[in-house]
Symmetry: C2
Subunit: 392 residues, 2 copies
Amino acid sequence: MIKVPGFKGSGVSSGIKKKGKKDLALIFSDTPAKAAGVFTLNVVKAPPVILGMERVKGGHCQAVVVNSGVANAFTGKRGYADAVLTTQYVAKELGIDKDLVIPSSTGLIGGLLPVDKIKKALPRLVSGLREDGFEDAAEAIMTTDAFPKFASTTVNIGRRKGTVAVIGKGAGMIMPNMATMLAYVITDINVGKRALTKSLKHAADNSFNKITVDGDTSTNDTVLMLANGRLGNKTLDATGADYRKFEKAVTETAAEVAEMMVRDGEGATKAVKIVVKGAKTAKDADKVARTLGNSLLVKTAFYGEDPNWGRIVAAAGRAGVKFNPDKLDLYFGDHKVLSSSKQVIDEKKAQKILKQPKFTVTLDLKTGKASSFILASDITFEYLNINAHYRT
Amino acid sequence: MIKVPGFKGSGVSSGIKKKGKKDLALIFSDTPAKAAGVFTLNVVKAPPVILGMERVKGGHCQAVVVNSGVANAFTGKRGYADAVLTTQYVAKELGIDKDLVIPSSTGLIGGLLPVDKIKKALPRLVSGLREDGFEDAAEAIMTTDAFPKFASTTVNIGRRKGTVAVIGKGAGMIMPNMATMLAYVITDINVGKRALTKSLKHAADNSFNKITVDGDTSTNDTVLMLANGRLGNKTLDATGADYRKFEKAVTETAAEVAEMMVRDGEGATKAVKIVVKGAKTAKDADKVARTLGNSLLVKTAFYGEDPNWGRIVAAAGRAGVKFNPDKLDLYFGDHKVLSSSKQVIDEKKAQKILKQPKFTVTLDLKTGKASSFILASDITFEYLNINAHYRT
């Protein structure tokens, strides 16, 4: 269970989803919190993302309202007006300024936001705010997720113990359309503006930006961070030992939730950490890792628990990165499969590793010192079931 | 059936594949033909590709020997020596210079070429050479292909009627590893060196380079063109009306075989032409078309016959190309789905189009005048069956 001093959460059913499932979440800070955000790089940005990008520039946020079921994406001016209206209703119900409310939406692309349903549910949503209400909130932002996703940790800042918590939802698709990766980082630690932005970027780059389920970037991806300063520590700068501890806590907690997203990727049976090292630049390493993590060949081999190293080296070769194909080392877990591109695989050992639900694949390009990784799921029959064979 | 004056084909079983299936093919020109080639851009190139790139530089080729079942890829110096040895044996059997023989291999990555099996089968392969033997050759180069692939056409060059024929195999994977796209263009037309190279590049760019089954570039991709000049026409330059007719014939015949590759993509039930127009540059249009053609979201929607336009615009938005997301026009076949990003879809009409085995999707970015296209298959349960659930 998550508790962060000065924050409250809530999640209710507003009737967007069927069968009385929770579909509306609220994250609320007793006082305006400092805020920073990272948003989708997709050219097609959903109106709530555009509005969120504008509002986070103000530097403060007190409430985040999230609905699932409808992404309010590709809805144009009407969608933007609906997002603004929703935040006005929320602000009124909470008695705060509307500019302190940031909205998120996840679900079907193209559908209009049912603002009336949301408005009607707001009194229940607000009266339901509780210090231990984040599990309800995490449940209410789920789409095809199988379980709610949250994690938290504590950090000692001086003599005080601060808390960092992350609530997120999975990177996948909803019936019958694309959904969203959403994550919210909340902390009671008093963090300066630069430290907030820097730590969020670092955390996102090393967690949510390092996962892939299907290689498709959503129109609604959002990671927001709220710091309400309730801990009363001296404002954290973007340098120094305390900052580094804080950044580490944010990054690790975000990585925990990111890993849940991969484990819970649509139809996924495997969470594979693909490490690429020995690259000339980190960008090169990242390119190769991403190509492997998104290769259908590689992902179906993982699903088939097939130590098919040929697919891995072939996919690496098309990543657009130069390396000497005669010098590759490749490992499944600790087992060496290729040594300077010579086969040293023990098929039985390799297969035993691939039968695990979680394992690491390491490719050493041996052309430099940079490395990167990606966390990838496999592609399974259930994935196709979810994405090809359901239709509302 | 294919016949090209001065060319003969043959295909036999050498025992690389099981159950006596044909696995060794020979394309032979009575006289040395002018040759040009296009090869995989994968950093990991199979030894037969490396050898083929070297030999085609000589400008002439008289025989192409192709085996299926083993890709002779990622086999290092030994693999290269095996490829050279094979061409020596073939040259000896045919009584020609080994430098006039180009090898191709397709099948399992990492396995060594069974040179002895090939050597033993060569007398049968050579004595089996016939003018109408190209169907056997097309069958012998198949891996997971369901049917052999070839097409031919005639072109009037001055008063003479020349022939252009293409033999190919599908872009997909073999159990349990990646295979290859291979294609051979043969013609009796007398073509100059520049015209040969130019027409082959044009044809490949507009056929084999415009298809995608799974987005994975093989280590063995090869397109070779042989022109034996038997027609006796005045050597074709790279300009003029006759050249343009020739280029068109090569391109259209190659496109015919390329379309067969998509229709026969592993597990495919759909061949979808994705046209992107109104882009600033052809490169931009190509980027967007490729992103759509490789998006799992889009491909599973095609499989599900689901007019899921949200997946298409979202995938377009992550292609790395700038456009105004409020101005998009989208068509399924002739049916307009989005008009300046407003939904004008008739779900029933749209679904009727998507139920066809072959249809066109057109996305107009309305930011320029350039266009491109890609021919894509869908991703199906059978695809997963082939690539995850078989293992020799």
